[in-house]
Structures are given as structure tokens and as C-alpha cells.
């Protein structure tokens, strides 16, 4: 096949020029000019690469990264607060459930104490600060479930507590020890007076504080 001027563009589509095209260029000045321009485009293109100093660019990138990180932290704190509120509501629900159980039982027993079973009558004095047997059983069941959940949370936080790598963790550890001590005292008091609504509420509040402290500690651990 004879190579003609019109074939040049097709020939340029491949990186290595075919021998027929090379032969043609030797004899055709117009195609030589075209081919030279084609090659010059590539050569000149390399000169379009530019480098320049941008002393503010990395500091800006770094600042933007750090600002993004701070925003992320704020978001996490907000989520943790929401979670804390949800946990408080759950704890409050336990207390409300306990009180709701107490009231109907008291209503049943208070007016006709004479007709009530002896065991219950002996516990119910008409004073709203004391629980019935049934209500107490329900509260103790809820408390047990709540305590188990907090124990699981404590197990998760245990490595961080054991490490106590910084002042903040040491503070949390001390706070948790105080709470454990208060919980133990309240539980001991409850052993003496198992029907006290006040003591049950106090215990629920202490558990809630412990839950909150553990969640905060775990959230800090995740952030670090």
C-alpha cells in the first residue's frame, strides 16, 4: 500500500511511526512540518509543568485537618450527651415502674388491711415510703438486670481503668471507686430495710452515675 499525506494522522495514532510513514516524510515537506509540530507538542508540553513555593498551603491543610477533627470531637461529645440523656431516661423509667407497682399494691392493701394476707399486711403500714413484697420483687429484678448491664460496661472499661494512663483516667478510676463504695453502703442499708423506696431510688441514682462515668471513660478511650 502506498503511503499518502492523508494517511499521516492515522499513522500518528501509534507511538512508533511505521516505516512507510518514515519513508514518506523524507520526501514530503508538508508532512514533515506536521510531524515536527506533533513532536513539538509533546516536547513543549513538558515545559508546562510548573512548580512554585506555597508556604501557606501545608499550614492551611494542617489547620483544616485539625479543625475537622475538633468538629468531629464536638459531634461525638454531643452524641454522648444524647446517649447520657437516654440512659437517664431509662433509669428514670425503672424508678417510675417501681413506683407504679407500689401504688396499686398500696391501694389494694391500705383500706382493708384486715383482709390482706398477713405477710403483706405486716410490711405495708400505709406509708408510701415502703414497698410491698410483690413490688419489691419487681424492683429487685429490675435492679439486678440494671446492675448486670453496668457490670458489662465496667468490664469493657476495665483495661482503660487498669492502665490509668493519664490524670483524667485516674480521676475516673477514683470516682468509680467512690461510687462502688457508695453502692455497697446503700446495698448494705437496703439489706436492713429492703422495703424503703428512698433507698431504692438512691441506689438507682448511684448506678446511673456509675453508668455515666463508665460511658464517658469509654468515649474518651475511643477518641484517643
Amino acid at each position: 500500500m502506498k503511503f499518502e499525506c492523508g494517511d499521516l494522522e492515522r499513522a500518528l495514532a501509534v507511538p512508533d511511526l511505521m516505516p512507510e510513514a518514515r519513508e514518506h516524510l523524507k520526501t514530503c515537506a508538508a508532512c514533515r512540518r506536521e510531524y515536527r509540530l506533533w513532536s513539538d507538542i509533546s516536547t513543549t508540553a513538558r515545559e508546562l509543568h510548573e512548580e512554585w513555593e506555597s508556604p501557606a498551603l501545608w499550614p492551611n491543610v494542617r489547620a483544616a485537618i485539625m479543625a475537622g477533627q475538633q468538629a468531629q470531637r464536638k459531634g461525638n461529645r454531643f452524641k454522648m450527651r444524647i446517649w447520657g440523656v437516654a440512659a437517664s431516661l431509662a433509669a428514670a423509667a425503672v424508678v417510675v415502674a417501681a413506683v407504679m407497682l407500689v401504688k396499686p399494691a398500696m391501694n389494694r392493701t391500705a383500706p382493708g388491711t384486715a383482709g390482706a394476707p398477713a405477710a403483706t399486711a405486716s410490711k405495708v403500714t400505709g406509708d408510701a415510703t415502703f414497698l410491698t413484697e410483690n413490688a419489691l420483687a419487681e424492683v429487685e429484678k429490675n435492679e439486678s438486670a440494671y446492675r448486670k448491664s453496668i457490670d458489662r460496661l465496667a468490664a469493657l472499661a476495665q483495661p482503660e481503668i487498669a492502665k490509668a494512663a493519664n490524670e483524667m483516667t485516674v480521676n475516673y478510676r477514683e470516682r468509680l471507686l467512690l461510687l462502688d463504695s457508695a453502692i455497697a453502703e446503700t446495698r448494705a442499708s437496703l439489706e436492713q430495710n429492703r422495703y424503703s423506696v428512698e433507698l431504692q431510688k438512691e441506689l438507682a441514682d448511684l448506678y446511673h452515675q456509675k453508668q455515666k462515668a463508665l460511658e464517658e471513660l469509654l468515649a474518651r478511650d475511643q477518641k484517643n
Partner: protein, 187 residues
């Protein structure tokens, strides 16, 4: 698009002098800001030049590079290593450049590509710069990456997620159109 994930920042002092890409990724995933700085040192010069050719001004190029690094940081946790780190970063950069171009178009600003000063004897470099602004977007992008920045077709294909043949074809299309424009303007 990239996933928005933040990482904790660490300021590690000990850092390998010549870390591999995998080590850099690992360090970046751990939030080592020094690793990001190393990435910046390695890639920013070429990224700036590429952005300049796509956007036409150094200020816009720097903005795009800054955006790109921030997106790299946010998306690093999701980087799975299926492509080369540089390929992934260039892909992010190109998306950032397109974002800037879209903003420019929306704002109906003056020409996207910088117009060099008029000269009685326009050099081929300046003529080429002007001609580049007139060719189609994808061929222009491939031309800049291959001829100006020296990337290989395999890399360009990975960045643009097209077959290598397509990259070669777009390069040919770019050069053919540039040659036509340059021939016309020299007449």
C-alpha cells in the same frame, strides 16, 4: 464520593525516613499528622501543577489541592489499598478540580484557563497553553497527566477508571485537536 470519617490526630516524632505507601497509609490511619505531611511533600508539587493546568490559576490550584488533602484525610480510614495511594489521591484531586470548575461556571467567572499575555511573537509554549483551553475536557486531562506531568497510561487509566486504550485514544484526540488549533492559529 469519599466517606466523611475523622481520625484522632497524633503527632508522632519517630517516623521511618523512607516509608512505603503501605506504611504511610497505616500511619495516616492511626492519625499520624507527620504521615500526612510526608504525603503532602511527596505529591503536592505535581498535584499543584496538574490542578494549575486544569483550573488556570495558582490560587485555584492551591485551593483544590487543599480540598483534596482534607478529603484524603477524611477518607483515609476507608482506603482499602485496592489501588495505589497516588492513584487514589489524584482521583480525589481531579474531583476537587471539577468541583472548583463547577463553582466557576456557576459564578460565570472569566475564562477557566488563564490567558497568557499577548505577544507579537507567540511562542509555542504560550500557544499550546491557549490551545489546551480549547480542547475537550477528558482529552485535555489525559494530555496534561501524560505529557505535562509524566504519568503512565496505566496510572491515568486507574485514576480515571477507564481502560488503558481509552486513555491512549484520548491522548491522541488531544494531540490531534491541539495540532489542528496550532496549525490554524499559525496561518
Amino acid at each position: 464520593m469519599v466517606r466523611e470519617i475523622g481520625l484522632p490526630i497524633r503527632f508522632a516524632t519517630s517516623f521511618s525516613e523512607h516509608p512505603t505507601d503501605a506504611q504511610l497509609v497505616e500511619e495516616c490511619k492511626r492519625g499520624n499528622l507527620r504521615a500526612y505531611e510526608r504525603l503532602y511533600e511527596q505529591h503536592a508539587p505535581r498535584m499543584k501543577s496538574l490542578a494549575l493546568r486544569l483550573l488556570g490559576s495558582r490560587a485555584d490550584a492551591e485551593d483544590a489541592v487543599q480540598d483534596a488533602f482534607l478529603k484524603v484525610y477524611r477518607a483515609m480510614a476507608g482506603f482499602d489499598g485496592n489501588s495505589a495511594l497516588s492513584t487514589w489521591m489524584y482521583r480525589i484531586l481531579i474531583n476537587c478540580c471539577y468541583d472548583v470548575l463547577r463553582r466557576q461556571q456557576r459564578a460565570a467567572e472569566a475564562p477557566v484557563t488563564r490567558e497568557p499575555a499577548a505577544d507579537s511573537k507567540v511562542s509555542l509554549k504560550i500557544a499550546l497553553e491557549r490551545a489546551l483551553a480549547r480542547i475537550n475536557e477528558r482529552p485535555r486531562l489525559v494530555f496534561v497527566m501524560f505529557e505535562v506531568e509524566g504519568l503512565k497510561h496505566s496510572e491515568i487509566a486507574a485514576i480515571l477508571q477507564v481502560p488503558e486504550g481509552t486513555s491512549r485514544n484520548w491522548l491522541f484526540e488531544a494531540k490531534r485537536d491541539l495540532k489542528r488549533i496550532l496549525t490554524e492559529t499559525s496561518r
